[in-house]
Amino acid sequence: MTAKTLYEKLWDSHLVHQQENGNALIYIDRHYVIEVTSAQAYEGLRLKGLKVWRPESIIATADHNTPTRNWNLGISDPISKLQLQTLDENIKDFGALHYYPFKHRLQGIAHIIGPEQGGTLPGMTVVCGDSHTSTHGALGALAFGIGTSDVEMVLASQCLDIKPLKSMRVNVNGRLSRGVSAKDVALHLIGLIGTGGGAGHAIEFAGDTVRAMSMESRMTLCNMAIEAGARAGMVAVDSITLNYVKGRLYAPIGEAWSDAIKKWQELRSDDGALFNREVSIDATLIEPYVSWGTSPELVVKITGNIPDPANEPDSARRSWLEGALSYMGLTANIPIQSIQIDKVFIGSCANSRIEDLRAAARVVEGRHISSNIMQALVVPGSMEVKAQAEVEGLDRIFTDAGFEWRQPGCSMCVGINEDRLNPGERCASTSNRNFEGRQGPGGRTHLLSPEMAAAAAILGHFTDVRLILGS
């Protein structure tokens, strides 16, 4: 039997129909439906007189538009409110396995509550009308972000009509230093291969560094796979995966659990399986990273300087770098540590799981945010993360230090609700995108890890968290 990659195993086991044109119909096990990309898809179903093929495949939530404070006041923006009501109606009319609407006791970001509730299991195919669906691949699943037409397609047929992807393996080996996290591995990779580097590929993260990572860290890595241009990110199943899944709401129990783990243990790339591309990373050389520009590939090590576009030989790229520098209001060649910040955002589907909050709290404990910080937000990824953090007293550590402790949602990662940057404001953000205007028009986003964001909040400028942790 030929050796297969994890991606090939997941693909082959979900193949419904191989079309002559090379495309295939792939069966979708789990569909996360969110308010921001689903209304037009349901409208399409209504216009065609179609039903949802398998409503039990759907877990729905509202996360992009929801406020993160004053929940008792409801949603003030009438356009956001209508989008949420539309989702309420669509779920009522078409059905779902579960719906976590605004203010539900388990509400949160789709990519956080999915794995948390066992909604994503190893071996599944997962889609959502959101590019960061790649997060779910951390559980040994094949997870795609899709557009609204494909949301409609999956609602109507339970299938995705898709071209096979190429496979890329990113081998990360060696021990990460203290203060260096999965986010730094991701930023390092994107800096290395670029935001188009993974285009057309599914990335499998492998190597002993990844094997040693918690599920939370693996989810951060897979979340960022899309920022490297990859359609999907994934990690093979091991005991860490099984321990994470066991006991969750939608995880199998009893005999079904034993049957399931037998199948799930196969969910790894066979020895000798061939990848279209392999990238090797020495984890011992990775330092904490901060992005300096308007694309996740524009990163520097915390010990480094803002690069000089003048050194770029390619003229199109040079003018792009100059544009990024100008938008960010920065000067070439200055140390990244000299840059003062205005706001701090700890949250998003990249970094709002309990481990992220613990890591940030360790840095913050017993300290206070710098006087130049106008706002520092901690937005847990879900109500469950929030409750757990409160049990551990993390909320007090943050609020004592001057952070605001908010309700879960996408919040300032995307700024669709009222949490956003004002023009010119500079933010240390644990989110995944630093595009122009991403966190608010004219806002300047620097991507980094939760511990690095916490350290920046304390000092008021970017700083090497390893020095704080070492003291």
């Binding site: 129909h17 037409s149 494909d150 285009a199 199998p252």
Partner: protein, 218 residues
């Protein structure tokens, strides 16, 4: 989807790598539940000097004269010429809708982000990939020539200019057929309903945990 076989029109050059979908249509317009109304907000933050919000009075807005789409030479463009990794970032299909509703019918670039390219095909916006050197020469021509137009022919898979230059492009046979006939892909996939049902019966038997029942928690 409406059938499309040929696009002829003015080319507007957007000389910038990694144009992301947040730039193509900013987040505040994603609150809409409609498929229409995005055209005036295409590249909203680059195209206008004032901040755009859904439902605003467009007549009072101040256009950014320095943005290429506002250059009178390129008004009415149907073809957008872009650079590397066009459409990266968010999966928002609104980016494709905004381009189309502005009047763009094809985007020519060296490469596209996967989800954007897929969304484009599904709506009949043609993403055309040409060699980087060809793209470079097209940029020069669009800057140097007043009213530089191109013809995009799907059947022959050629981009042609008025000087007689022809640039062949790749197009998946299935995509081509869908575009030319204006096929609705959902209808097409549902022709395989029996296969989908057969797959499901087997999967339910082998992996019952993938088929939980509704109402397990509240």
């Amino acid at each position: 989807m409406n059938p499309v076989a040929k696009i002829s029109g003015l080319v507007v050059p957007l000389d910038r790598d990694n144009v992301d979908t947040d730039a193509i249509i900013p987040k505040q317009f994603l609150k809409s539940i409609s498929r229409t109304g995005f055209g005036p907000h295409l590249f909203d933050e680059w195209r206008w000097l004032d901040h755009g919000e859904p439902g605003m009075d467009l007549s009072t807005r101040r256009p950014n004269a320095n943005f290429i789409l506002n250059d009178p030479r390129y008004l009415g463009a149907k073809i957008l010429l872009g650079r590397r990794n066009f459409g990266c970032g968010s999966s928002r299909e609104h980016a494709v809708w905004a381009l189309q509703q502005y009047g763009i019918e094809a985007v020519i670039a060296p490469d596209f982000a996967d989800i954007f390219q897929n969304n484009a095909f599904k709506n009949g916006l043609i993403p055309i990939q040409l060699d980087e050197q060809v793209i470079e020469s097209l940029f020069k021509k669009t800057f140097a020539t007043n009213y530089y137009t191109l013809d995009v022919e799907l059947e022959s898979q050629l981009v042609k200019d008025f000087d007689g230059n022809e640039y062949p492009f790749e197009l998946d046979a299935f995509r081509k057929d869908c575009l030319i006939r204006g096929v609705d892909e959902v209808d097409l996939v549902l022709l395989q309903a029996d296969k989908i049902k057969a797959y499901e019966i087997l999967a339910r038997l082998n992996q019952p945990w993938l088929f939980p029942e509704v109402g397990k928690c509240s």
